[in-house]
Amino acid sequence: MTTRRELLKQSTTVAAMLASLGMYPHVAWAQSSTYNAAAFEAKNMGDLMKALGGGTPQESKDVVITGSDIAENGAVVPVGASTTLPGVKRMLILVEKNPSMMSAMFDVTDAIDANFATRVKMGQSSNVFAVAMMDDGKVLFASKEIKVTLGGCGG
């Protein structure tokens, strides 16, 4: 435990140092110029697909959305999106009733599984979608409802 932490800390400190000098050999900075702002502002599926150049999404049992039925706190809701189908270009995680629908968009390469988990904020109970955008232009999705409860005293 301590060893791992020491090791991690050393590596991260070195990484940060090298990075600040612009000398870090392995990690390239993420590029912000490619950010798809329109997609992240979309309020509904139609606008989102327009922004991403996708067709009409079809429900598919080959796409899996994971999450608990109830979230104790809307500030942190664990969500996973995955598929084992070949030819996935992108995976999306969407929350239907959030002010903007899309939370995350992952570009899938041959080097990784199309299987991602993160945590999202939810303003209220809502359907949550996992969307797989395929190489052949098909858009497949799975959804599940996650209820957000009032956890504490409300004071």
Binding site: T149, L150, G151, C153, G154, G155
Partner: protein
């Protein structure tokens, strides 16, 4: 000389006895409480003052009070409750449900201690409606409170004892249980008469989410 000191000490101990030790601990405890807290907004240090009820229940540390002490607290609490000024016990259950859901009131975050800024906090401790899954269990379930007691017409003479019991409980929970964990919503000025009537309706109106 030594003997004399000892004598005085002994005499002192005999005269005051264990009471002195108690008083000393009490004083130290009160000193600790006074020095540990400060005013913050509406939550002022004078809130630490206890009335006889809270003093007796604190001292019991969760154990039952002696019967006589409990009875005298309950009697005084019951005497503090007045029936509604217009004789009507039930208000609007929908407003009552809103109040029951509202867990705010009286913390140092609240701008005002007025009844209008306070919620009923009911769901924090009680189950009430079937739809609300997020309910506490410190108090008993009140789901179907009126229905389970056969209240079909809260105005009827048969419903009267049940209606009055609920009114007393909401106004001063200590009227039926000296060391009840429930706040004294009426007597402590936490909720207005109109708000209390709305909660009464939530519990007893046959149309309310509690009874349907």
């Amino acid at each position: 000389m030594k003997f004399k000191t000892l004598y005085f000490l002994l005499a002192g101990l005999l005269a005051v006895g264990p009471v002195a030790a108690d008083t000393k601990t009490d004083a130290e405890f009160n000193q600790m409480m006074q020095s540990s807290f400060r005013d913050e907004g509406i939550a002022t240090v004078d809130r630490l003052k206890q009335d006889e009820t809270n003093a007796a229940c604190s001292k019991a540390m969760g154990a039952h009070l002696p019967a006589a002490s409990a009875q005298s607290i309950e009697k005084a609490a019951l005497a503090s409750v007045r029936p509604p000024s217009d004789g009507k016990y039930l208000g609007d259950w929908r407003a009552g449900e809103k109040l029951a859901q509202n867990g705010r009131g009286m913390t140092w975050n609240e701008k005002s201690a007025a009844t209008s800024s306070n919620g009923g906090n009911c769901y924090n401790c009680h189950q009430l409606s079937k739809a609300e899954l997020s309910f506490g269990t410190i108090g008993p379930s009140l789901y179907r409170y009126g229905a389970n007691r056969g209240v079909t017409d809260p105005q009827s003479p048969t419903a009267k004892p049940i209606v009055e019991y609920a009114w007393n409980k909401l106004n001063n929970s200590k009227a039926t249980n000296a060391c009840s964990d429930m706040p004294r919503f009426g007597q402590a000025g936490l909720l207005s008469e109109a708000q209390l009537k709305d909660l009464m309706a939530l519990l007893l109106d046959p149309e309310s989410v509690v009874n349907r």
